[in-house]
Symmetry: D2
Subunit: 313 residues, 4 copies
């Protein structure tokens, strides 16, 4: 396989061109008006290899709502705060259920299966909150994102956050349900408030790929050398992304793309080629499992042409 | 990382020694007498790298009942026979349920979630059977195993097969249930007969590691150069092993070991380090999820010391 | 309310006439050919009050497959054999699920919720079998039906029985599943054989109403004075019919009709007006819950016009 | 059977005496402190026959938290307001699940199975609220209870209401979940507020039995002749009490007692002998299904000695 930056550039250019002309684009999430207004024709991609080469295509600098992709970073923060104690609040098995299922919670007495389904991410947010004011926790999350992406301009889209807060009855059900099992420690509305806000962070593909470089590089930021997390922890976060990163489409993503990844209903997908690159794609149309349709296809193509699948060249 | 055969030999020797003295050995499967009689102190390991180096430790030549590990090979055969049509009979998502759950089948109208839970493996077996006599299908499976392992002595332990057939009511429930949805085409007792027999194949770690080399080597047998399956298919089988290979402990295995693997209640685990090695371990004591306790620990240690995790060095 | 035989005769005549002209007749069960061939226009009714007056209308002497109505009588036999020990094998709570659901069995470790869902009736049949040959148990069931109905001509429709046996994969799944939890004691195929055969008993409305008189009359056959079961047991069987007699439509039946009843997919419904009458209706078209559409309406009309609802005049 | 008031008086006296000396008293509900503080030795009974005879025993004038018994009256109010349209918001089938299960809600898209499980009662409360201020709806409920019981002193125990509101996370989960399916129309906190408050109404056995006379008497208050609901509606409310009144112990209650009834975790049970009497019992110790242990036994004894089972004398 050809791993040269020039080859990568060619491949990314091809993908951006191919995606631009496809007519199958999925369906934009409609459950909150702010997400529904996004242009279905948008497509962006950014790849940053471990040598620091940045290769982009399409709308790679347009900001979108990262939604569930934020869960990768809140997981990282919570692990940093409480280490393996986190696993008393949330499991790490794939769920075999849609992202907002409450059935599993009843069977397992309020402990969510993994940190990437909604219930699990709410439990992780509750750990980060840990008695502080919501705005303090939120400030910390935002600071971490800006630090990783080396970009102080990243911020929360307050309209999206407010919109989710107004309509997030399913998430309120999940949170209250966990609270009834004492899985959550903070007031439900505090935890939900922080959760809705970190899901409403707006970032571009370039910013996202920047922020996740440590996961492709043994836990270290390759530009500064700063060790964000230990190498083992980076591997383990990647493992959870692989098995649980796409709700009930996680098996399908592993099967087709072969990279750890995390999708959001805003149409973004973050993917990691361990030892090789951090990747972000964005296309707002979703497939039936709620994952970006073209985003997944773009990543599948990229992994194949670069020989980056973790399951064999 | 040091990938030299000498280093591998050192690591395997260390692991065999460490496992020999551990007192936490799990619990031997008791549901059929033939499995319960196995020596809890047994431990074997065999690693075959893509250059053909064979490194073994412990009871690497003792044969054990491969049980569910056979599902990797029946999946390979069925994909060879009907290609992607297979996915009309079985899904490829992790199940989020114990290996023999029937609940999921009701929700999804008789279509099992993946080829590695019992229901899914029975559906795959039914595809292989495809109207033939059970002994014909069984002969084909056995021939395939012998060919891959380059060992004509591999055979079925008839006592184990008979024992499972007598007590396999849960599997009979699964099979009849799928039949009620027309997911199975052959007579239930034929399909179950073949299923119980291929689970009763007896192999050693060395034989298993030999048989699975193609999965570590882009679908090709590295010694003969024979292309068993296309490279993409090998990657995809690895992906399913990673997400679904350990029932309700698949997330845990990915998190700790970081290699595609498939366990059996006989205490064996087959694991693949793509591009690097085919690995088989065996220790009959199981953990709560029904996976070999020491086998998992041995693989975790091996992956760590060799830097073989697919989620980053 | 007017309880005179003359009034009853008028009401039954009216109902038969009204049902004859209705065009909403439900759908005949199609899962076995023998049931599908029945005339959708058929309608029969027979009412026998506790004074022994027999009032009939329509096709009251045409025999039909009683199917699940047989479960009332097998429950009676099993309670006679083992008394309250029966409740170790089966519960007596409504299921909140379709008649052939297997999910509940997983949650409650193989013990069916009540004797009137398929799994429960299979468990009851297994108790009756209790180590005997299937034909012995079947002979006993048939003898009991003939004795109660005072009619030696009642017999099993062998074509229906054979047809169910061939296609009864869902029931085979339920039986094997219970067997895996040791809830069944006899060979699965024996228990299923007896179950399929007693469901295939053919009876007319008149015969059915005759057979169930003891349930309306404190456990006693009003014509012979023979005490079939103790009064308390008759009350309790009626209670189970009320709460569980119509699968997932039991609440609806209680709400609309207000009488203990048991339906069968052959289109028959047996109902009891305690202290007043034994009632059988038959119309082969079923509603969405699998209960006779016109049968339910006829019973609702009868209960209202006679003031027989157990929930108040 | 002897239905004379003198006989009834003897039976009630016997029951009160027998219950006073029993040592098996169940366990007082502990989930809110206000309920946990009740005296486990309390026992009360009040029976009011359709002729207006009032027979009481034990602590029949001590007020207790009626909790879920209030659901009978809110169902009556809601049916009065919207008639059969109510059944678009809630079903009328037994649930086969604990009183606070959320699993069933997921399967049936937010529509609760019946008005007597928590979710169903919350949906009924939402219908009563119908855009009004919570205190208006609550005033109406309270006025209805006082009118039926002919007692203006009945009121809400504000400490109990506040306590439930603080700890009612499970109910908040159910309400938010239904809201996410648009099954609830009002703000979640309004509906929950009214729900928690009507569950916190405090009444004595005598007051409760008074309030429910219309259900035993064709919908009419026997003392004033006022038609509270049509006779058919009274029958139907009784039917729902029979099939759904005791959560996952409804079948058991029908089997043992044979009367429509509704229990509350405060230890009260309201029961109806149609055409005969309105009955209330109270003993705070609960059985495993959450129903009053001695209350159930007292009712079973009463029904047997008076010959009041609706399933036959």
């Amino acid at each position: 396989m050809n791993h040269s930056p020039a080859h990568l550039e060619t491949v990314v250019r091809e993908i951006a061109a191919e995606m631009a002309v496809r007519t199958d684009r999925g369906k934009v999430a409609s459950y909150i008006p702010e997400l529904a207004n996004v242009d279905i024709d948008a497509f962006g991609i950014a790849v940053i290899d471990t040598d620091g080469n940045v290769v982009t295509g399409g709308d790679s600098d347009v900001q979108f709502s990262i939604q569930s992709i934020s869960k990768v970073f809140t997981l990282t923060i919570a692990l940093g705060m409480v280490g393996d104690h986190l696993w008393q609040h949330v499991g790490r098995e794939p769920s075999g259920s849609p992202f907002n299922s409450i059935v599993q919670l009843e069977r397992e007495e309020g402990v969510p299966r993994n940190p990437f389904i909604n219930a699990g991410a709410i439990a992780v947010t509750d750990v980060i909150l840990s008695g502080h004011e919501p705005r303090v926790a939120l400030g910390e999350i935002l600071r971490f994102m800006r630090f990783l992406a080396q970009d102080q301009s990243i911020k929360i889209d307050e309209k999206v956050a407010a919109s989710e807060q107004r309509t997030g009855f399913r998430n309120a059900a999940l949170a209250n349900y966990m609270k009834s099992f004492s899985v959550l420690q903070n007031p439900v509305e505090y935890t939900l408030g922080v959760y809705f806000h970190h899901c409403a962070i707006a970032m571009s593909c370039r910013q996202l790929a920047m922020a996740a470089r440590f996961l492709a590089n043994k836990g270290r930021d390759p530009s500064t050398g700063f060790q964000v997390v230990q190498a083992e922890r980076a591997r383990r976060i990647n493992a959870i992304m692989l098995t649980c990163g796409h709700y009930d489409g996680s098996g399908e993503f592993a099967y087709r793309v072969g990279l750890p990844g995390k999708s959001g209903v805003g149409g973004g997908i973050l993917a990691i080629a361990p030892g090789k690159a951090s990747i972000a794609v964005w296309s707002p149309g979703l497939d039936d499992s709620g994952n970006s349709h073209l985003g997944r296809i773009a990543l599948e193509t990229l992994a194949k042409r670069m020989g980056w699948s973790i399951f064999g060249a």
